[in-house]
């Protein structure tokens, strides 16, 4: 049903062209399956695109030093010139937002941590990490933040999306968006 909501105005906008035939222009080419696989680095919270491979926090601790992470983030992830990777020391809190803006504790999904390391780290050598290494580094950061407590726990495409991040259900979704709607119902500004 949601599909209809945007398709209808869309069809009206494009007028008879869209209704007459599809595809309309025949411009562009079809990518090969291999191309799509190589390009597609997006990872859904459900983890369906996660690749084969696995890792542990134990292995991640070594990689954190070997891959240069510690050089910018500090040897313990708290004392570098790059952003802090370990929750702020605020003691026991009932709301994980109080740990600060630290990806491996604030993110509702462990997939976001995996995805960001995979696409954006390390600075200057992005995309160089193997899937096993990304699993291990993700595990290590989750371990440093007490999200997981076993440094031998194996993270892979099945176990990673199941990690229960403390903010899993503790975040505000953006509202459904439609053209011409006010920002917030009942808010005059």
């Amino acid at each position: 049903m949601r599909l209809l909501k945007y398709l209808l105005p869309g069809v009206m906008l494009l007028g008879f062209v869209a209704q007459a035939q599809s595809p309309t222009y025949g411009v562009g080419r079809a990518p090969t399956a291999a191309e799509i696989e190589a390009w597609d680095i997006a990872i859904a919270p459900t983890g369906e695109e996660l690749p084969d491979g696995s890792g542990t926090a134990d292995l991640g601790a070594q990689l954190f030093l070997e891959k240069g992470c510690a050089g910018c983030h500090g040897t313990n992830g708290t004392n570098g010139i790059a952003p802090r990777l370990v929750k702020n020391d605020v003691g026991e809190v009932d709301n994980a937002w109080r740990y600060g803006r630290v990806l491996p504790i604030r993110s509702p999904y462990a997939t976001t941590v995996w995805d960001y390391i995979n696409r954006g780290m390390p600075l200057g050598a992005e995309g160089s990490l193997l899937a096993d290494e990304v699993y291990s580094l993700t595990a290590y950061l989750l371990y440093l933040n007490d999200v997981i407590t076993d440094d031998q726990l194996v993270l892979d495409q099945n176990s990673l999306p199941k990690i229960q991040m403390p903010n899993r259900d503790n975040w505000a979704q953006v509202p459904d968006w439609f053209p011409g709607q006010p920002r917030l119902e009942g808010y005059p500004y």
Binding site: V27, A30, E35, I36, W39, I43, G180, L184, Y189
Partner: protein, 415 residues
Amino acid sequence: MGPKKQNRREFLKQGAAIAGGAAVGAASQSASAQLPGPEGFLHGRDDIVAYGQRSRFIESKRIPHGGRHSPDTFGLDFHIATPLQDQHGVITPSSLFYMGTTRGSYIPDIDPEKHRLMIHGLVDNPLVFTMEELKRLPSVTRMHFVECAGNRSNRRHTTVQETHGMTSNAEWTGVLLSTLLKEAGVKEGADWIVAEGVEEVKGASSIPMTKAMDDTLLAYSMNGEPVRPQQGFPLRMLAPGFEGIFNVKWLRRIKVVDQYYMTYNDYGHLTQDPATAALGYQIGPKSVIVHPSGGQTLPGAGYYQVSGLAWSGGGKVARVEVTTDGGETWFDAEIRGEPQAMAHTLFAFEWEWDGSPCELQSRCIDEIGQVQPSRAEVAEFWNQPADQPPRVRGQDNSIQPWRIESDGSIHNAIA
């Protein structure tokens, strides 16, 4: 008049006859000696024939914004603000367009001949386009602003560049994303897209299909030339009226998906509060007086044209109201030109300053009836404690007050 002209012409003729070119030169020098003239004459230069440059007397420049220097220790550019105070129209020059990046970014050095855009995911026909192919498709040319979520005035700011310089406006040409999505054939259940750039962090944002199919534009042209590298050359997505981060630069890939992907960009805008989330998505109605503005000094009492910019993520600017007495009385400013949807709109009014202290403000009302609030109004709406400074939830679209002292100096009067 006729005889006089004739006399002068004859005089010049005689002079020329007597002393050749030198006499003509002397005559024109004596006639113009009392007028201000140029400091000199620039000889043609091949590079400036090929690509022009501004006057050496113009020093208008962008500045790093938000307390982190650009470039930073790593050579990354982060947030850079445009000098709104030097601008008189609605187009931001491409060289001065504000810039924001996800975590700080190097600028990808992209050969447009090698650049490709892929559309895949929940579509019937995944497609790859070259830049030339994108340019073959039906195009639209539209004015749109882009604004950073961090464009938030605070008491430490003195100039409009600091308070509002993280927004800019350009004319963009490109292909509507809806054209490409229809060509690819969107499958049922595909409620979102993930748009991704090629910078080293490969910044990606989740965008609702409703927006993707409405007015989202893939621009290859900006202000009459290819989109600048700092703005996403060769291809930039514009999600008009959405916060800056959704306007993905160096666009390489659009994946059509069935869920919100919680990318790193999405995570960066995450909040616990649903109202804050809603108010940090589509830019609200907003305006600011630019001439005159903070840090400037009025030379004295008398006539001034006051002008500024208004915009909204909700559509066109319908009206701009202004006050010169700190909000006691409001009157309509004149809209200059035809307002465009999700575009900076120029407003102005004629003002006679009597030389006494006063406060200038403007407020934007957009076509869907949203009204730009004062900070006090926001505080009242949310029942914020009166003894604390007002806090604007989500993207800050509150009214900017400029206080003018009797010595003509202008100050940021934000609460």
